[in-house]
């Protein structure tokens, strides 16, 4: 009886795992097959990988889009981590009534749907002449309420005695943050970095509005364009999808432990 339950549990988890992983297998196999084989559901590897890659490079500047996406994701991640971590830190280390209210206001802004901001933001950036400029993507992305919240949560586990000790040693308040807090909170930064990178890498709606020339397109815009139309070349599309998935999958596998640690909010 107990064994039966165990088998059921494993069967369920295996099924869930297979369903989760199958589309990944599908896109890798697809990238090696002809478009018509993909639509016919060919499940084995083919020999069209090189052809699909060359096609994708010729039809859309995938490399350029990859570079654009990478540039934006790195800049946004670095800047947002700096700005939001220092804020989250200050909300815990220097508590005051005013900051409590401010923090609530920042958190409340998470409820504002992006769609409710697109027109004013579009008009704001068009007035500033910054449409089709990466500043229009970077500026709204770096002040992220979720990251502030995330750092605040994790800062509660940061030992306050360390701060007192550092003050006695003559470190300035910013010095404490830079030299003690940041190195100690590596796993929190790793997790927050993953959040930020993913959000930027996947961002679709706002770049679709703000970026107009194909040269500035990010990967999601490029891949979406490749797949549009009645009969897209699926071999080419699969190549685009793989290229847009490789960086995030690599980061996940390299930082998996830090990721989970950061989610639990532990400080080692």
């Amino acid at each position: 009886m107990r064994n039966l339950g165990k088998i059921f549990k494993h069967l369920f988890l295996i099924l869930a795992s297979v369903i989760s992983v199958f589309p990944f297998y599908w896109m890798i196999v697809g990238a090696t097959n002809e478009s018509k084989d993909i639509t016919m559901g060919k499940l084995t590897f083919g020999s069209s990988l090189v052809k699909n890659v060359t096609n994708a490079m010729e039809h859309a500047d995938i490399l350029q889009a990859f570079g654009n996406s990478a540039f934006l994701a790195v800049v946004i991640t670095v800047v947002s981590l700096l700005i939001c971590s220092v804020a989250g830190y200050a909300f815990v280390i220097y508590p005051s009534r005013g900051k409590e209210i401010l923090f609530m206001a920042l958190i409340a802004s998470m409820m504002v749907p992006f769609a409710a901001k697109i027109i004013p933001m579009f008009r704001m950036f068009s007035k500033m002449g910054l449409l089709n400029n990466y500043l229009s993507i970077i500026l709204p992305a770096v002040g992220a309420p979720f990251l502030i919240f995330f750092f605040k949560q994790n800062t509660h586990a940061f030992p306050l005695e360390t701060i007192e000790a550092a003050r006695v040693d003559g470190l300035s308040e910013y010095g404490i943050f830079l030299r003690i807090y940041m190195p100690m909170m590596k796993s929190t930064y790793a997790a927050a970095g993953i959040f930020s990178f993913m959000a930027s890498w996947n961002n679709y709606m706002w770049p679709l509005i703000a970026l107009q020339s194909e040269k500035k397109f990010t990967l999601p815009l490029m891949v979406s364009n490749l797949a549009a139309g009645f009969t897209p070349d699926y071999g080419m599309v699969m190549v685009g999808i793989i290229i847009s998935t490789i960086p995030t999958i690599l980061i996940f596998f390299l930082l998996q432990k830090a990721f989970v640690e950061g989610m639990v909010g532990s400080v080692k």
Binding site: A16, P23, P220
Partner: protein, 292 residues
């Protein structure tokens, strides 16, 4: 002396939160207020006049508004409970330290979260095509005789979007439940076992009540993201057939950038979404908080 020191620290504290707060103010609160003012104006393009609540009245008779709103709510009502239950079930199973291969299961089930929204939507469009692999598998297993035009049928298309969302996000929410479960003291379960509680009793009497805050957090997160659904539907069905899968965010986008731009009306529709999210958050807080 002490108050002076406190003041000095206080100043550092305020300077540290300044930049982040200013950015949120400029790119969240200012657009939000502007959108509200815009929602009270009518006209095409940049030529706008004050019109009071005309836009909100127009919405009442706008069938596309109701269709897209209905679709969006339908996704939320079906997808979120299925997904969170699955995520919780998987998390509880994986929380058993004696479970073999839990690391592999966890990694596999989390993996969909690394895909970009546009990419997985296109993958699902391909998987669920008329001559796609899902149809072929179902026909091969003799579950169906004829291919189902998943993306072309108004009901199936909605189902495909829900399946895609569940695939993408279950692992993500599972991580939240897992970390919450790991914080529950194991001795509570041992004591319950000694008192003769079975798996289901300890699940409903111990695990679930202790997980209440995280269930609330995850449902709010899921709700706000589903109510803003855009990328998936644009790339999977393009809102079709007709408006059968179109979401409210897509409609707002269309109103602002695809049709002759009517910014005022579009802003009014977006304000309804904003209010909806606020109301649902409060209601949900009431429901999850009341049983105490």
């Amino acid at each position: 002396m002490k108050t002076r020191a406190k003041k000095k620290y206080g100043l550092s504290g305020w300077s540290m939160v300044l930049l982040a707060s200013a950015l949120v103010l400029i790119f969240s609160y200012v657009p939000m207020i502007q959108a509200f003012l815009l929602s009270l104006k009518t006209g095409k393009g940049a030529n706008l006049q004050f019109a009071g609540l005309a836009n909100y009245v127009r919405m009442i008779k706008d069938t596309t508004f109701w269709t897209t709103m209905g679709n969006t709510l339908l996704y939320a009502v079906i997808q979120i409970p299925i997904m969170l239950l699955l995520a919780l079930l998987i998390a509880v199973l994986l929380n058993d330290p004696k479970m073999k291969g839990r690391g592999i299961y966890r990694t596999c089930i989390f993996l969909p979260c690394v895909t970009s929204l546009v990419s997985y939507s296109i993958l699902f469009k391909n998987l669920f095509a008329v001559d796609g692999i899902v149809n072929q598998a179902l026909m091969h297993l003799h579950i169906i005789d004829k291919a189902i035009p998943f993306v072309l049928d108004k009901n199936w298309a909605k189902a495909v979007i829900i399946v895609a969302l569940v695939w993408r996000y279950t692992g993500y929410y599972m991580i939240f439940f897992l970390s919450a479960l790991q914080n529950i003291d194991k001795s509570v379960y041992e004591a319950a076992k000694m008192d003769g509680c079975n798996f289901f009793q300890s699940f409903f009497r111990i695990t679930l009540p202790l997980l209440k805050p995280i269930v609330f957090l995850t449902s709010i997160m899921a709700l706000t993201s589903t109510l803003q659904l855009f990328d998936e539907v644009v790339n999977l069905t393009a809102g079709g057939p007709g408006n059968a899968t179109r979401t409210i965010s897509q409609y707002i986008y269309d109103l602002s950038f695809n049709f002759v731009p009517s910014y005022g009306y579009s802003a009014a529709v977006s304000y309804v979404v904003l209010l909806l999210i606020i109301v649902l958050t409060i209601v949900q807080k009431g429901i999850t908080g009341e049983k105490k």
